[in-house]
Amino acid sequence: MLRETNGLLPIEITNHPHKPERWKSNDYYNLSNDSLNRGYNGNTCMTARVYVSMKPSVLDAQGQAIHSALKSLGHTMVQDVRQGKFFDLQLAATDKAAAAAEIEKISHDILSNPVIEDYKVELMD
């Protein structure tokens, strides 16, 4: 069962509109496209990406489960797995410093649980 799934997964990912290579590039968001690049009130759009993951010393049960699955599938090279998530936020803002401050607050108060998670903010324009 696992083996089958393993065979299928890469195919799905290749055909998936959100294919991983594009996650890394800004052009996925058509940031050059003026129609998308302007907020409702005419402000320039910025994108903030917030990465959230467990703090290094906190148990990452999901990461451990992935790691043990990898081990059982024969990927013995992998020594550890820590997983996390990211959020993309489209901002109607012009002042980068002010946007950064607000995203920092959002990341701390809402997107992450600062008791056990770390976050990192990237602003892209």
Partner: protein, 737 residues
């Protein structure tokens, strides 16, 4: 030059005089690692140094008690070659810092305490205390705690079958999360946390060690301050699926016969498990940290010894049979490694990188912590509660009062909480949440075990001694209502800072009251937990002892709380017992919700009468005479009658107490009263008479309405929907707003 500075001593939460005692016990200065080990073992949480001399006053024995306090859980014989292990434990401080994980690991910790004894966990209950629902953090704490409990319990596969939840402003900055767990085992399968057999291997099993919750035990022994926020990384994260594997692996490994002792690594992790197992067996334990499975690199001996990573166990196996144990753990995909041996020198010796990092007497660590007889010659702290009753007008509309009370956070339906729990997993739940007592069936013996959790901070604030007695009486009454014989108890003592004499006085009074009532009701204490320093910014909680009492009964169709049909006689076993002394009304839910205040004393309890009421009620239930039965507790007669009506069948009640104020009549909380609905009033009356208790006819059940008349005046006349609506939606609506 000494490496031990006063600052380091303080950071390990030891006092100067405790440090001096360590130096004199060792005959030398401790290393920083050793100081850390003493710091956790001598913390309030692990050593009970402030409560120990008073806990000795509690009754701990009966012919059914197989194991009393001092082990991971108490054990009671239930006949047929089987026994039950149960205990309650708090996770208050972690649940304030990180509600979800704090509550989840609270469940995980107590489950390990149960299966360490060789018992399979079959039931969990929770006593929760939150701040006022309009305080800023309360809603998020409630949601976090409840989903943390459901996450851990549901994933692990143990039913959460009951509990109680109270809201009071004194818990705004210090919620209480007390988790009770119960497991079942054969007599022959019980295991103890003892490192016996010189030369036997000491084996580490379960999850890997990380830097989780370092010094959690000593954190739990401090008051919260604004700086606590900075201590946040102390919180541990649990993995219930790992715990399920650990449970199955441990129970299977125990069956090999190769295991001689086992203990879970809870508070103070590796430190506590090694020295306690050694101390109980009067042996030494030598471990080498290089063998400890580690999740992170570069951990120091100090960090490994103090880590509170979850889902770990320490066991001692018979020498030469390690492979049998390893094979079981390998099958379940868990780490199992020999990390040391049992020695004959009584010392805990910890090696790391070829160096001896600690060499300490197990006895000194586990049993020779300082014992404090803290001053308690003050009057117990009462916050702002006066002794005398204020002038308050006789209620002119008890009908409206009743509806308001039913919608209050303490009395309203807690369905929103318990519907998040799996309360039927394992298919043995005879009676689940929302009833007087929860019941699970023990298939192996064909009998059942009933259990009830109860606490009342308001009563205990007004009189800690009498308050505790009332709690124990209520717990036993809850069990009697379903026909169970109360047999044993576990206690969770949640109090403020014991260094304040007026708080210490509360603790001493409560323990003495508990001793008296547990002796009287023949429910010895088989274990429990003490949680002190429950204060935030100098503001203490109400004294909040929580009792968990278990009872035994034959498996039978459970007695419901709700009236099943119209035309049944409604009787009040114990009688009206209206107390017209207004001083005794100040701790009631009416005083809290309608008058917004607290004063006086808790309701008066006559333990002898109470016991007779319980015997009568038990006999009525067992004889199958009760079509419905419900004890009168918070909110008194009015609230109890409403609760009995929520199945859609109400009652027409006619009282003849016209000389009594209607608010006292309906909402006084005198104990020793139980409503019974029956088709055979004469038989019930005969049983009551036999036990020498009053049996008052209240009226008759009828469809869809609850009417309460007193003489010529109508006190309540409501459709069931009118009463049930606010009761059933109140909590959910408040939490959603």
């Amino acid at each position: 030059m000494s490496s031990i500075t006063p600052d380091l001593i303080a950071r390990n939460r030891l006092t100067q005089s405790e440090y001096e005692k360590i130096v004199s016990l060792l005959g030398r200065e401790p290393s920083p690692t050793e100081l850390g080990i003493f710091g956790v073992m001598w913390s309030e949480h692990c050593s009970y140094k402030s409560s120990k001399i008073h806990l000795k006053k509690l009754p701990t024995r009966s012919k059914l008690v197989l194991q009393g306090p001092g082990e991971n859980a108490g054990i009671i014989d239930i006949g047929g070659g089987y026994c039950i292990a149960f205990k309650i434990e708090s996770h208050n401080h972690p649940s304030f810092i990180e509600p979800f994980q704090g509550a989840a690991t609270g469940v995980g910790g107590i489950l390990r305490d149960i299966f360490t004894m060789g018992a399979r966990p079959i039931a969990v209950m929770d006593a929760l205390r939150f701040g006022s629902l309009d305080a800023p953090r309360t809603k998020s704490i409630v949601k976090g705690v409840v989903s943390g409990i459901s996450h851990y319990g549901n994933c692990f596969g143990v039913p959460t079958i009951g509990g109680e939840t109270v809201f009071e402003p004194c818990y705004n900055g210090n919620p209480l999360v007390n988790v009770f767990a119960l497991g079942v085992a054969k007599h022959t399968d019980i295991f103890y946390g003892r490192a016996t057999g010189i030369g036997n291997p000491v084996i580490y099993v379960g999850a890997k060690t990380g830097r989780d919750g370092i010094q959690g035990a000593s954190m739990a022994s401090e008051e919260f301050s604004a700086e606590s926020a900075a201590k946040r990384p102390n919180v541990q994260v649990g993995d219930p699926f790992m715990e399920k594997l650990l449970l199955e692996a441990c129970l299977e490994a125990m069956k090999t016969g190769a295991i001689v002792g086992i203990q879970d690594m809870g508070a103070a992790g590796l430190t506590c498990s090694t020295c306690e197992m050694g101390s109980r067996a009067e042996t030494g334990v030598e471990i080498d940290l290089k063998y400890v499975p580690q999740r992170e690199t570069g951990m120091t001996a100090y960090e490994m010894m103090l880590s509170e990573s979850q889902e770990r166990m320490l066991l001692v196996a018979e020498k030469g049979r390690e492979e049998e144990v390893f094979a079981v753990f390998k099958k379940w995909g868990l780490d199992a490694v020999t990390i040391g041996t049992v020695t004959d020198d009584g010392l805990l010796r910890v090696k790391h990188n070829g160096e001896v990092m600690a060499e300490l007497s197990n006895r000194a660590l586990a049993d020779e912590a300082p014992i404090y007889d803290r001053p308690h010659n003050a009057k117990p702290y009462r916050a702002n509660a006066p002794f005398d009753a204020p002038e308050f007008a006789v209620s002119t509309d008890v009908h409206a009062d009743l509806i308001r009370m039913l919608a209050s956070p303490d009395l309203c339906s807690k369905r929103w909480i318990w519907e998040q729990y799996d309360y039927t997993v394992r298919t043995n739940t005879v009676q689940g949440p929302g009833s007087d007592a929860a019941i699970v069936r023990i298939k192996e013996t064909g009998t059942s075990v009933a259990m009830s959790l109860d606490g009342n901070g308001r009563y205990c604030l007004l009189d800690p001694r009498e308050g505790v007695k009332l709690i124990i009486a209520e717990c036993c009454r809850n069990l009697s209502v379903v026909g169970a014989d109360p047999v044993a108890a576990t206690n969770n003592l949640n109090f403020g800072n014991p260094e304040r004499p007026e708080i210490m006085a509360q603790l001493v009074e409560a323990i003495e009251g508990m001793s008296e009532a547990c002796t009287f009701f023949e429910t010895p204490i088989t274990g429990g937990n003490v949680s002190l320093y429950n204060e935030t910014l100098g503001e203490g909680i109400y004294p909040s002892p929580v009792m968990g009492i278990v009872g035994l009964l034959p498996t039978a169709v459970p007695v419901p709380m709700e009236f099943p049909k119209a035309g049944l006689q409604v009787l009040l076993i114990g009688g009206l017992r209206v107390d017209t002394n207004l001083q005794r009304f100040g701790g009631t839910q009416y005083a809290k919700n309608i008058l917004n205040t607290i004063w006086g004393l808790p309701p008066a309890l006559d333990m002898d009468y109470e016991k007779r009421v319980q015997s009568a009620v038990r006999e009525i239930a067992r004889a199958g005479l009760a079509a419905a039965s419900h004890d009168l507790g918070d909110g008194g007669l009015g609230v109890a009658l409403a609760e009995c009506s929520f199945g859609g069948v109400g009652a027409k009640v006619e009282l003849d107490a016209t000389q009594v104020r209607p608010d006292l009549l309906l909402f006084g909380e005198s104990p020793s009263r139980v409503i019974v609905a029956t088709a055979d009033a004469a038989a019930v009356q005969a049983i009551a008479q036999k036990h020498g208790v009053e049996c008052l006819r209240l009226g008759e059940t009828m469809r869809e309405r609850l009417q309460i008349r007193n003489g010529a005046s109508t006190l309540v006349d409501a459709s069931i929907a009118e009463l049930k609506g606010p009761w059933s939606t109140s909590l959910e609506t408040t939490l959603a707003s």
